[in-house]
Amino acid sequence: MAENLQQVKKRIRTAKSIAQIAKAMEMIAASKIRKAQTAVEKSRPYSERVRFVVQKILAENDDISLNSSFVGLNDNVKRKLVYVISTDKGLCGGLLANIFKKVLTSVSKDDYVVTIGKKAQAFCIKNGFNVKASFNLGTVLPKYEDIFPMLKIVEDYYKTKEISSVEVIYTYFKNRMVQEPMLKVLAPIQRDKNFVNKGEHIFEPSSKEVLDSLIPYYFEVIFYDMLMNAYASEQAARMSAMSNANENANEITASLTIAFNKSRQAKITNEILDLANGQIH
């Protein structure tokens, strides 16, 4: 009996410390979301301008005159290059499972895959996808410079004409409660149907040259946006997962405490009975 009591006591302690850790992780995640949100807000004017200039050039020219490999489809090749943005760490609820479901339904074994985050790497390799490169993120907010090497791969494969399009699978951060796995096309560049072209611009040296040198910037701002979305989603998912964990741990603590008190009471009763009966065990 006594041994059992000790064990229950130990379990109560464990449950309590789990609750504490979960609470702390929840709070850390909350502050990380804020960081990601301010980073997005800070970069917004820049990214809006880049998008505007690209759409402006697209609106004033057709595909043929631009003669860019990033505009219009490359029909000869079927293979895609897919970026999978996941996390480095687990403990974020159904987020990873949702991303992986998307990967299974939309990526074929022939496609090239670039994984970002350890979890995507492990998953894609296990399922036999053609992983060409994998980047790790760590747990801190990704820096803008971090994405240059990630995107350089696009240019390399485009130059050798091995791929026809570039897609990105990431988690869209709708709000703190809702995050959705998404697949978006990075290249070829999509024309924005809502774009209103007003006024003529002079292009120097020419619109084609401006576009060609602007394209890397364009990919960067879009990719950065996705990376930030993925980061914020990860933290939000972790936040709710940890808040659930905290609740569950508290529940377990409560039920264990009741069990502990009951068996302690039973033990005392037995001892009193023994005394009253004058028996010695």
Binding site: Y46, V114, I125, E200
Partner: protein, 142 residues
């Protein structure tokens, strides 16, 4: 007043400069151009160099590593590039990432699952224990 225009120098990390200027000089591929208020709409590529901003005779200098200038309706925005894009560093990182992927692919079959299984069993045992306690408590309540 009246002959000033709004200039924003934008970067991914936030706005570097934002305000009304009398005129400003930008380094383009074909040499410096000075943009005064009422300039015609223009989009041009910028090269490495200094943007010289003049606010009522007061001069300000901002060095950029390249970028783009867009001017229309008396609003100028510079998509500024401050990051030094070093091909070498990037290439090194890509090589690392590719190597990493290859290594992991090769390792795939060798992964031992014994440790994981042990942990899993332990977790299941713990769970069962908690379930027991929970159902016992329910019985007490009933």
């Amino acid at each position: 007043m009246g002959n000033t225009y709004k200039l924003d120098i934008l970067s991914p990390e936030g706005n570097v400069f934002s305000g009304e200027v009398s005129f400003a000089t930008f380094p383009t591929m074909a040499g410096d151009i000075t943009v005064l208020s009422g300039h015609t709409a223009i989009i041009t590529k910028l090269s490495v160099g200094e943007v010289v901003i003049d606010i009522n005779g007061e001069k300000k200098f901002i060095t950029i590593a390249g970028g783009f200038l867009e001017f229309s309706d008396n609003v100028a925005s510079v998509i500024a590039d401050f990051a030094i894009r070093s091909e070498e560093i990037d290439d090194k990182k890509i090589e690392e990432a590719k190597k990493h992927a290859r290594e992991q692919m090769a390792k795939k079959d060798k992964l031992s699952s014994a440790v994981m299984e042990h942990d899993l069993q332990k977790a299941i045992l713990e769970l069962k224990f908690f379930e027991n306690i929970k159902s016992k408590n329910k019985r007490y309540k009933a």
